[in-house]
């Protein structure tokens, strides 16, 4: 049913597997359809993003650009919109990076809440060497690993292996056994209360760009919502029963 990816849902886990090594507008459209489904109908608590064996993604498909045609900025906007939507899904987002993860692939990796890598992973923000920009990785990467490291990764475009990615905090686990690492990671996320997960992630993502006075207002609004949801009410009920 999809041409650029496969999608399967198994109990609590929804898995998106990129079937093409390059990101094109068709893939953006299909990811949008999947987000619609995940927001509207899905009871999955975890979304796993992965690629083919040995390749997560090589980034943008340059075949969609023609030197004799006007350049279209709106395609980049659509890409950013789908990244932001994935980033806001009311699920835990886990990326599995086995092998090459370049350009747009590395950008997509940054919207995950946790990243599992295999020892052969090869992460590179290669856009600046190719004469363009790594999307909103300029925004996300600096927050994720610090401005100094982000400058080196984005401006010098080094290839980052598993050990360095782990030490930078770019990935959260390196393992040869992907299945085992995935189940450990899912276990670590615990019960995944979707409201608490979504609100916590949003406040964290906003933390660098919000001043304290606004942040505390935002926090109180979010906390008021969280403490009126079933999971917290269950927590205090269990506590009362003890």
């Amino acid at each position: 049913m999809y041409k650029t990816l496969t999608f399967e849902e198994n109990g609590d886990i929804a898995t998106v597997t990129l079937a093409k090594s390059r990101i094109n507008m068709e893939m953006v459209r299909e990811l949008t359809e999947i987000c619609n489904h995940l927001e509207d109908d899905s009871t999955a608590k975890v979304v796993v993003l992965r690629g083919q064996v040995g390749c997560f993604s090589l980034g943008i498909d340059f075949a969609e650009f023609r030197p004799d045609q006007p350049m279209d900025i709106h395609g980049f906007n659509k890409w950013e919109k789908i990244c932001a939507r994935i980033e806001r899904l009311p699920k835990a987002i886990i990326a599995i990076i086995d092998g090459d993860c370049h350009g747009g692939g590395a950008q997509l990796m940054l919207v995950a809440d946790a990243v599992i890598a295999t020892p052969r992973c090869d992460i590179q923000f290669n856009e600046v060497h190719l004469g363009f920009l790594p999307g909103m990785a300029t925004f996300r990467l600096a927050k994720s690993i610090g401005l100094g490291h982000a400058k080196r990764l984005i401006m010098q475009c080094p290839k980052i292996g598993a050990d360095e990615a782990l030490s930078l905090g770019l990935v959260s686990m390196v393992s040869t056994d992907i299945d085992e690492a995935l189940s450990k990671t899912i276990q670590a996320f615990g019960p995944i209360h979707n409201v608490a997960v979504t609100l916590a992630r949003r406040l964290l993502n906003e933390s660098f760009s919000t001043d304290f006075e606004n942040a505390i207002g935002n926090f109180l609004a979010a906390q008021h919502r969280a403490i009126h949801q079933t999971p917290f009410l269950d927590t205090i009920r269990a506590h009362t029963d003890e």
Binding site: N36, T198, E213, G217, N218, L220, A221, H224, R225
Partner: protein
């Protein structure tokens, strides 16, 4: 071919000439209570248009209830006239062309009501149909838009005008307490008029199709009945507005219900909504709405900006945001907007627009 729904043809707004920063108000009223001072300073309001008496050496003199009622009447007429003229500008229409007039206010009691005063002074026909909605609070703009839009749908081709007139400075009670401080630091004066008609005749110079008012969805929160209310203050001999400190959160947590109701009835998802036109109630209630229905700072940019420039303008506030959205020039044919106003009851009112 006639359209089934009323369309918004134009909006006009007006404010009194004097604009006061929060610091101006603290100085004018010689506010001494440090808690009240810090509340003014923490406010997300830069300043507000208000009608205040001249200060003498003792500060701003107190106004009794009779003075406040007169202020409401006089400024409702001045600002009403101005916002109605602006709404009719470029339409080739005059007040004599209006067939239905709906006036809204919660900041002063009059009998005869605003609509009769407007007919007397502003050139409306004496056979113009009238409705006055009095005392419904900040949400009342949508409580008025609902019957106004329905009147249009029932009378295709006829013109209806709704005017929200709030002279919040006619509610000023000053006693250096936190209770009145909250009110005095939040509300501003402003009127807004909106012109509607149900047919396919767009205004003469409209660069865009005009939005249809498609649907409404209300939600009352009876358990928060007393959270916002007028009290009679025997001490001051005037009405005093009371605002419970939990109001922003209570409204926030109930926001999903009417929004989901409105959208699901129209087979829409939140992602189908391109614009959010939300009453600028205060910083906390805007935050609560953002985190309860997942809106971004971009979604609430007009709401926040109107709050910053004007304070809480009561029932017409959402029309100021609507006007700013239209002037921004980002609306495209096919876009949809949700309008949302919140206020005493406690209540959340919503409407769906479709361009």
């Amino acid at each position: 071919m006639r359209s089934r729904h009323a369309r918004i043809l134009s909006v006009g707004t007006a404010n009194p000439p004097n604009w006061y920063t929060q610091q101006d108000i603290l100085d004018l009223y010689r506010v001494a209570n440090p808690m009240v001072k810090s509340m003014f300073k923490a406010s997300h309001i830069q300043g507000r248009h208000l009608v205040l008496p001249e200060a003498d050496e003792a500060g701003v003199p107190q106004e009794d209830q009779a003075t406040l009622l007169r202020k409401h009447r006089v400024w409702s007429l001045k600002l009403g006239r101005e916002c109605i003229e602006k709404a009719l500008t470029d339409t080739g229409l005059s007040t004599g062309d209006i067939d239905y007039l709906c006036c809204i206010t919660s900041t002063g009691m009059m009998l005869p009501g605003l609509s009769a005063m407007f007919v007397k002074h502003l050139g409306f026909r004496v056979d113009c149909h009238r409705t006055d909605i009095v005392g419904m609070g900040c949400n009342a703009g949508l409580n008025g838009l609902n019957p106004t839009a329905n009147w249009c749908a029932a009378n295709p081709g006829k013109l209806a005008l709704m005017v929200c007139c709030e002279v919040n400075s006619a509610l000023y009670v000053y006693d250096d307490t936190m209770g009145t401080g909250v009110v005095n630091s939040l509300f501003g004066d402003g009127c807004a008029a909106v012109l509607l008609r149900a047919d396919d005749t767009d205004g003469p110079t409209q660069p865009l199709p005009l939005p249809q008012v498609v649907d409404f969805y209300s939600h009352l929160i009876p358990q928060a009945w007393g959270a916002m209310r007028y009290n009679w203050s025997t001490e001051h001999g005037k009405f005093s507005f009371y605002l419970d400190r939990d109001v922003p959160y209570v409204l926030g947590i109930h926001t999903e219900t009417p929004v989901n109701g409105l959208l699901s009835r129209n087979k829409l998802k939140r992602r189908d909504i391109d614009h959010w036109i939300i009453h600028s109630g205060g910083k906390k209630v805007i935050d609560a709405i953002k985190y309860n229905i997942g809106l971004t700072d971009f979604d609430v940019r007009h709401t926040v900006n109107i709050l910053r420039r004007f304070g809480n303008l009561g029932s017409g506030s959402f029309l100021f945001s609507y006007q700013q959205l239209v002037n921004e020039g980002k609306i495209r044919p096919g876009d949809r907007a949700v309008m949302m106003t919140m206020g005493p009851g406690s209540t959340i009112e919503t409407a769906l627009l479709h361009w």
